[in-house]
Amino acid sequence: MRCWDPRIEEMPKEELQKLQFKLLKTLIYKVYSFSPFYHKRMKEAAVHPDDITCLSDIKRLPFMFKKDLRDTYPDGMIMSEQEELVRYHVSSGTTGKPTVVGYTKNDIYNWSESLARGLTSAGIGRGDVMQVSYGYGLFTGGLGLHYGAERIGATVLPTSVGNTERQIELMQDLRVTAIACTPSYLLHMGEVADKMGVSIKNNTLLRKAIVGAEPWSEQMRIRIRDWLGVDAYDVYGTSELSGPLFCECEYQQGFHVWSDLIYPEILDPDTQEPLPPGKRGELVVTMLQKDGLPIIRYRTGDITTIREEPCPCGRTHPRLERLSGRVDDMLIIRGINVFPSQIEHALLGIPDVGEHFMIEIDRKGALDEMLIKVELAKEAFSDKIADLIHTKKNVEKTLKNALNVQVSVELTEPGTLPRFEGKAKRVIDRRLI
C-alpha cells in the first residue's frame, strides 16, 4: 500500500494550511475556555482567541516548557475530565518531578493514526510480523508502536526490552520481518545474535527497523544495513506530544510531520524568532488535535530543520531532518550556532583522525577561538612534518565547511583524549562572558 490515508497525505499544501488554521482556531478557543493553565497564560500575554486571524499569528501565543509540566504535576495541565481519559503515560524525570500525560480516546486514535501513516510510508503493512522491543509500560515507546502496528494490520510480537536471546529465538521462529526498538538495542541484538551463531542478515527474515528515542547517525544506518541487512527508519516523538509519532518514508530523508496533527516552528535559539524552512534551530510544537494534554508552542529543546520541498514519495507534508542535538548542547562561536554532534558527524567522514574529540573555546580580544583536539590515526602518521601539517589543514577545512566557522585543529597522540561513558563532556569553555 502506498499511502495509509491518501486523502490527507496527498492533500495540496494550500488546503492543508486552511485545515491547519481551522484546527488551530478551534484549539485556541478550546484551551482558552477549558484549560485554566492556558487561559491564565493567554491573559498574561494579553492575547485573546479572536486575535488569531492567520496561521502566523501563532507567534502571539506564549511558549510552553517542560518545566510547566513539572510545576503543575500531576495533572494541572490536563484539560479533559478524568472520566474522558483512557490512559496515562508518565515519563521519569531525569531532573525533578516526572511529567504525566493523559490521553482521551481520540488522542490514542490520532497517535496510532500518525504511526499507521508513518509505518506504511516505510513499507510496513499487513503481512508483516513486527517485534516491538521498546519498553512497555509508563514509557510511550512500546504501546505507541504496538497500537500503530496493529492499526495497519501487521502481526505484533510485544517482546518489550530484555531477555535478548529469547527475542532472537522468537524472531526466527515467528518469522519477524520488522522491529521497533532503540538503535543501540538493535546493535546489541546483533552482537548477541552473532554470539549465538545466528546471523540476523542470513538466518532471519528481519528487513526493516523503526528506530528512535535516542540519537543516532547516518553512519549507524549504513552499519545496520551492511551488518544486519536491515533498513533502519528514524522515528520521532516525545511523551509530551503523545509518544513516537512520525517516521521516515521509504526515501529516508527526514520524517514527514502530518500537518493535520502538528504545527511545527523552528526557532532561532538566540532571538527566539521563527526561522524560515531550511534553517537549523529549536523545534517548537503545537499539537493541533490533542485534547487530554493540549500542547501549544512547546519548546522541545530538540535541534532540527524543516524541509518544505516536495518529497519524491508524493506526500505533501513537510519533513523534519534527523535531530542534530539539544539546545542545551549548543555553542555560539562568533555568533554562529555550533553543535558538538556536527563535529562528531564531520569527524566520522575523515579517515585520518579518530572519532574522539575535545572542544576548547577561548576569547582572544573580541573574537572567539575554537580549538578542536583530535587523535591522529595510526595509518595517517607520516614522519614528514609537511604531510602532518597537510593533514591538520585538511581536518580544519572539513570542519570549517561543516560548521561554517573557523576552527583550529590540534593533532594529538592516539588514546590520549578522554573517553566518556554516558553523557560526554567534550567542551571546555574558557570565555568569560
Binding site: 595510526k378 614522519d383 614528514k384 591538520k392 590540534e410 593533532l411 594529538t412 592516539p414 590520549t416
Partner: protein
C-alpha cells in the same frame, strides 16, 4: 647491486609538544636495552615528530607501540661525511643535480667522524648515486 643493505630502518614517533615524551622514549629504550645511536626532533604547530636510529629497531618498535605511541618505520641512509669544509654541500648538490629531494637530514658525531642521516624521496637512486661518487655509506648490519 643490492641497495637494501644501506636502507636503515629509522623509528619515527608522532608526539604532542609536551614535556616528557622524549624522556618516556628514552626510558622505554633503556628498559629494553636498546641503544639510541642518533635522534632528531622536528616541531611544528602543536605537534612534533621524533626520529631515532637505534640498534634494535624491532624491539623498540613493539615496546613503543605497546606504550601507545604512534610509531612508524622510515628508510633513511647514513653517509659518512668528509671531515672538511663543504662536506655537506657536496652531498646535497650531488643529490639535487640528480633530481632527488631531501625530505630532511640530521647529523651525529661518532668516534672521530661525522655521519649524516638523510631521508630522500628516491632512496635506491640516492644510494646508487652516492656510491658511484665514492661516498661511504653505513650498512644496516653494521649498526642494527
Amino acid at each position: 647491486m643490492n641497495c637494501e643493505q644501506y636502507m636503515i630502518r629509522q623509528i619515527s614517533l608522532f608526539s604532542e609538544n609536551k614535556p616528557g615524551r622524549l624522556a618516556a622514549l628514552a626510558k622505554a629504550c633503556q628498559e629494553e636495552n636498546v641503544n639510541i645511536l642518533a635522534f632528531s626532533i622536528a616541531e611544528a604547530d602543536g605537534f612534533g615528530v621524533i626520529r631515532v636510529l637505534v640498534d634494535k629497531p624491532d624491539v623498540a618498535f613493539s615496546r613503543l607501540t605497546a606504550l601507545g605511541f604512534n610509531v612508524a618505520f622510515t628508510h633513511v641512509i647514513a653517509v659518512l661525511m668528509r671531515d672538511e669544509p663543504g662536506g655537506l654541500f657536496e652531498i646535497a648538490s650531488k643529490l639535487s643535480d640528480a633530481g632527488i629531494n631531501i625530505d630532511y637530514s640530521y647529523a651525529f658525531s661518532g668516534k672521530n667522524k661525522a655521519i649524516l642521516i638523510l631521508r630522500v624521496d628516491k632512496v635506491e637512486e640516492a644510494i646508487k648515486l652516492l656510491l658511484s661518487h665514492s661516498f661511504t655509506l653505513i650498512a644496516t648490519d653494521s649498526i642494527q
